[in-house]
Amino acid sequence: MGDAWISGKPATLQAACAEAARLLGASRFPLIAGLGTDMAGARAAITLARRLGAAVDHMHSAALLKDLDVMRDAGWMVTTPGETRVRADCLLLVGTALTSAWLELPRRLLAPGTEAARRVVWLCPGREVARSLAKDTHVNAHAHVEVVGGDEADLPIVLAALRARVAGRPIGKTPVPQDAIDALAGNLQSARFGVAIWSAASGIDALAIEMLCGLVKDLNAKTRFSGLPLPPGDNAAGVLEACGWTTGYPVRTSLRAETDALHDPWRFDASRLVDSGEADCVLWISAYRPAAPSWTRDVATIALSSPDTRFRRPAKVQIAVGRPGGDHDSVEHVAATGALGTMVAAAPSAAVSVAQVISDITAALPAGA
């Protein structure tokens, strides 16, 4: 079985790493993107980026930075999936894409026995989810879910109205009748420990997230309430943490010498760097699934991914890597705990890890690169 290719032709791992090192070493401005990898892979990628003077970005940066921009502009109150499970007497599910962001959400938070007499309200779940809830399917089988509002597009105004009513201020016309807003405002205020859950990977915008986080803060004047942002997949939350502690900044950061980092969410957006031609060589990493980059411009690409990834433009070098937690043990962000955790390989194989390949590429870099 082949596990490495140069210009589409099978090659040894050693030759592929040497070619990758040659391309990266010759690059004017290399980019390390995708970053769908475990903590070892992320730490190795950041170390390589420092050596090369590369920028780093994650495939889910848009969602990551939506939440992060709210946090670092205004602050927030958040809690853990575990605390939500064992303590929350009120769940405010907000918007769409919650169960796709966390497949186990219904089992962990809505199953009987997780908390007696838990009130569950789903705000603007979208027509499809609302219909399926009405038909008493999957999610609804676990707990009674009350739906308020329909389309995700209504979310900003419904959240604003809700926050206004919690603060005792009048509101104008909204897509939801004021009775329903008032009833919900009352229910949130009478919760003992409520949790609002959202996914930035949905269509919710940063202003709506900020409104929601402001609502949570306001509720804490009299009772206890917290937030549970569901992070996007591909270990985005773990990569964000690693980038934070090694550089001081989140992803979309350009690195140079050990303590030199420049963070700019616009300038170091991987798609923009490729589309503008600023980046001339990309190390693309997607170890959890065969994800390909979204850009269409031709750029010298080294791909560490599963072999069945379909690229719009063929990669110059492709190296098949194992799935963290599948082919090899990994440390990564775990949805059930909301923390970094150890995942033991489900089906250990000889497939190489991202960290190992990056180590080999680094060793093959020309002196001075």
Binding site: T79, G82, R87, T223, L240, Y249, T259, V344
Partner: protein
């Protein structure tokens, strides 16, 4: 390879040594002088210089999820400590001659995260304290009045699972009470639903840690941090030690009385008197210095109550599985009455506690000030004229509510070496650190003797870590990665089965997910075991 540090003033209070002499290094350890001095493979001239063991910091928030949240919350303060990511942290400590640092507040569920961060801090050795005392399992043990042995097993299992060096308790029961919407919580208040007092939690953990033979006594962050009149809480906690070892963290933040027209004064003299009289108690100061910083604490109740003091106006409150945490940026100002009292109270504690073996040198980094202010604080302790210059710039009404202007004491270099080297090694049970006798790890700091003590301590002339030269003239000369120090007291394996069942029932997960295996760290030999008393 045999290395000689020749002709320096060697200050080693652990062995009552203070005089001109040599220190010899072989294979990472300090060795006896060989009979023929010419045998050295390398010689460093230390004449005119001070030679001490590497510094040891027992309480500095340098890693973990709350620290990382602070980084992500405050990109605009990135330059606060010269770039406060992991790489800079290790280099900045090494430049000051510090070679071992303890991260004092790691929630067990975030131990793996903390160890990965610690592993990316170069040069220095590290350790972390695991936080208990707001966790449901412990409350359950106490509520059901289970045996002291059950408590010991749980504490030992936690240390083994998290790979900690000790146990810390932070506002015992306070985080849990806050989840039930309690907004103030003191030593004899009762945890809602579970029914035990904060005092009972502290006593139970103190006893378990002591009986397990863990060298570092229970590390206590008291209730009521930062509040006027909280010296009463600290005095009650000191009294609660009842003859067993107990360490009180950042005591300055509990050094407040209620005198003066603002009802806020320094009660540090009172606390110092109590510490002087209570030999089983140790404290660290948590000195405040003026400037922008960020407060990072697992005392989620306190941080929530402090949220409106945030500068800039943004803050994070995290309700964790047990303690959680809060990140509140703050700026201490010399012209602020309250901040001036805090600054003075810290120095009063340093100067009025008469035993340098029981008062430890911290700023509770970054809560009182970034650790990069250490050289300035050392200079203040060693020079009363320098203190007078600072005092002259403070609001007089604040100074009047402290005893600081009346204190003439100046720390000697020997006392500084005790407080920052010999005593921390003893407190943490690190028999081969903090001193310069043969057999010690060759962690050595050499400072050029100069009148400006701040300049002297800011840029060490030479620093050796495990015998390797890592700093010369204040510049890092080579990068290496140290280890994390851990303890592993014995426990009955039945607790592991019990924890497995508990995690499955409560969270629907295996506790294995929070384990910290060697292979997860990504560095060779990431841990070093510190023995417990048997």
């Amino acid at each position: 390879m045999l290395t000689r540090l020749a002709g320096g003033r060697v200050i080693d209070p652990a062995h009552q040594r203070d005089g001109i002499g040599d220190v010899w290094i072989r294979d990472g350890r300090i060795v006896e002088s060989p009979p023929a001095p010419a045998a050295a493979d390398a010689t460093y001239d230390a004449s005119g210089k001070i030679v001490m063991a590497g510094g040891i910091d027992i309480h500095s928030h340098i890693a973990g999820s709350n620290v990382n949240t602070a980084r992500l919350l405050l990109p605009e303060r990135h330059a606060m400590t010269g770039g406060w990511a992991t790489f800079a942290t290790g280099c900045l400590y090494a430049k000051m001659g510090f070679t071992t640092v303890v991260e004092p507040a790691v929630a067990p569920h975030y131990a793996l995260h903390a160890h990965l961060e610690l592993a990316d801090i170069p040069i220095i050795d590290k350790a972390m304290l695991a936080v208990l005392g707001n966790d449901d399992f412990l409350f359950g043990l106490m509520h059901k009045r289970e045996s002291a042995a059950a408590m010991r097993d749980y504490v030992a299992w936690t240390l083994a699972t998290t790979r900690g060096l000790g146990i810390k308790v932070i506002n015992a029961g306070g985080a849990e009470a806050f989840k039930s919407n309690v907004r103030a919580f003191s030593l004899d208040d009762v945890v809602p639903h579970y029914g035990m007092t904060s005092r009972a939690i502290v006593k139970a953990l103190q006893q378990a840690v002591h009986e397990l033979g863990v060298p570092h006594p229970l590390h206590v962050h008291c209730n009521n941090l930062g509040l006027a009149g909280n010296a009463e809480t600290a005095l009650a906690t000191i009294a609660a030690a009842e003859g067993l070892p107990l360490h009180l963290a950042h005591l300055q933040f509990y050094g407040y009385g209620t005198e003066g027209k603002r009802g806020f004064s320094s009660a540090a003299a009172l606390l110092a008197e109590a510490v002087n009289a209570t030999k089983s108690v140790t404290i660290d100061v948590g000195q405040v210095m003026f400037g922008p910083t960020v407060t990072i604490s697992s005392d989620v109740l306190r941080q929530f109550n402090a949220r409106n003091a945030a500068r800039p106006r943004k803050w994070v409150i995290f309700d964790g599985d047990a303690n959680g945490g809060g990140v509140v940026p703050y700026e201490y100002r010399a012209d602020d009455f309250y901040n001036a009292v805090q600054w003075a109270a810290g120095l009063e504690l340093f100067l009025l506690i008469n035993d340098p073996w029981r008062v430890f040198f911290t700023t509770d980094h970054p809560n009182g000030a970034p650790f990069t202010t250490y050289p300035d604080i050392l200079a203040l302790l060693m020079d009363r004229d320098r203190r007078a210059e600072w005092i002259a710039k403070l609001p007089p009404e604040a100074v009047a509510l402290t005893t600081l202007p009346s204190i003439a004491r100046e720390y000697t270099l020997g006392e500084i070496a005790t407080m920052t080297r010999a005593a921390p090694a003893r407190l943490l049970g690190l028999a081969d650190r903090g001193h310069l006798a043969p057999g010690a790890v060759a962690d050595i700091a050499v400072y050029a003797e100069q009148a400006d003590r701040a300049a002297m301590f800011r840029d060490a002339a030479l620093v050796f870590k495990d015998g390797d030269l890592v700093v010369r003239d204040g510049e890092v000369t080579s990068i290496r990665y140290g280890r994390a120090l851990t303890v592993r007291p014995d426990f009955d394996q039945a607790i592991a089965r019990r924890m497995r069942a508990y995690y499955d029932e409560r969270y629907g997960i295996s506790p294995d997910v929070m384990a910290v295996p060697d292979g997860a760290i990504g560095r060779p030999d990431p841990f070093e075991l510190v023995p417990c008393a048997s």
